[in-house]
Symmetry: C2
Subunit: 309 residues, 2 copies
Amino acid sequence: MNADVRVTVLAGGVGGAKLAHGVQRTGADLTVVVNTADDTRLHGLDISPDLDTVAYTLAGVVNPETGWGRADESFTTLETLRSLGEDAWFLLGDKDLAMHVARTAHLRAGATLTEVTARLAGALGVRARLLPMTDDRVATLVDTPAGRLDFQEYFVARRHADEVLGLTYEGADDAAPAPGVLDAVASADVVLLAPSNPFLSIAPILAVPGVRDALATSSARRVAVSPIVGGQALKGPAAAVLASLGHEVSALGVARLYAGLVDVMCVDERDADLVPAIRDLGLEVLVTDTIMGAGPGRERLAHELLESA
Amino acid sequence: MNADVRVTVLAGGVGGAKLAHGVQRTGADLTVVVNTADDTRLHGLDISPDLDTVAYTLAGVVNPETGWGRADESFTTLETLRSLGEDAWFLLGDKDLAMHVARTAHLRAGATLTEVTARLAGALGVRARLLPMTDDRVATLVDTPAGRLDFQEYFVARRHADEVLGLTYEGADDAAPAPGVLDAVASADVVLLAPSNPFLSIAPILAVPGVRDALATSSARRVAVSPIVGGQALKGPAAAVLASLGHEVSALGVARLYAGLVDVMCVDERDADLVPAIRDLGLEVLVTDTIMGAGPGRERLAHELLESA
């Protein structure tokens, strides 16, 4: 792939990181715009889970078993926090902690999240542009039968077991896109919507004022990859969230969410029967093996997506 | 030793921690008032080196080689911070880091340093009362030929190699003693000035408004232990600081600093020749082996100090 091809990936955590990694392997000029509505503050530390997952993946230091966190990780500080009586339910590895400590220190010193992200990703060896969707605080709040929950409380502490009755991207209306985000969406050759959770990862990015319009009017070829394969989520609560919010749990259900925003919907071979219905939405359809696995599989999918675009 | 004997130790780091540990081993009712003018903020974390040294020592988890930091420590986060390009010159172990993370989080949430110290020391298993000298910010600033330095920059980063031309306890005039400090000094049966650095550890405590008066007028028997033995400091820059500030580098020089504040000066057997001159200052003198070493030696010295009082 030519390094002159500018590709922007809108990404959440693990799925978005894998697709971005595949694009990086093609040699394209990569920008990743990352969801920050999962960001949280724990033990006084500013934690950006999706930014870190993407940075670790692109730097090749991610834990290959989980797809997030760092490889060869230890948990000494976390275990000590627990022994000190702290409520340490969030899995913080010793290496991972260094990212949070450094990020928190620089943010407290007045740097923006964009600046801190560029610095830390660069130090990890990431060559792609890694952009938070915003430097402002946006927080996904999850309405459940147990009440309104902070995102990480819903996702990690309660293991996304609660039914999702509604979602609020708190602060989104007043947020500004981070520097470079609108341009990355508007002027790329290709924009990829990663197979991340449509409501928990992609929707918060689109909720930042200006991003949805930039995507809708972009001159880029826009391709979305369905995170639903054979009616099931590859990872996480995407299927459950689609269902509880009244959407069909299928690549067609996802395509309906993205119709008008993308040119091409990429679905898995197992969902070939949905192609006519997706075409009826006015979308082109790319049918392929969307299961990425390790590096070569990610690169193969990225190549197919870019060639289709 | 009867648990009804109330002993208050004024302490800096390692020397003060060892003496406090000796008193704890006697079974006395122990309060330790600890210097916080060395406290610093690094990587966004609030670090209280002397409080941690005393807590770790009393809890039996201190590194026995160094007298500070934790035993069986690892440095994964520190090494990762360095690999991220952070200027990580302060030695932060993974276990130690948990204290700073927890302290910072609770302070940011509005707790006082007194409250956080009680919580964390209690979680470590410390039964003694551990009190910061103040909940306010006091910072020892060190004037050197290289200019004015923050304490940890002088002490750790530059390995206390600069000549000390003067000292300022910034913020001391406006600081209030932490809850319990004045009472611990005024109403104890025995107050011990640990063999900590007179200028860098004990003087900041006495600079907090009310503490010097409480000591001067206390009904307690007040005993100071010389940190200078045979004209040399047992540890750290005490000898160099005494000399550069124009004081005699001896137990007599230390006794002159404490005359009027204590009843008894405890000096090492090697300094028996100084006894007459110290008595001439109006002080009683206890001559003994002041080198504490491990637990039994600390307990022996503590017993002798309490029996003399």
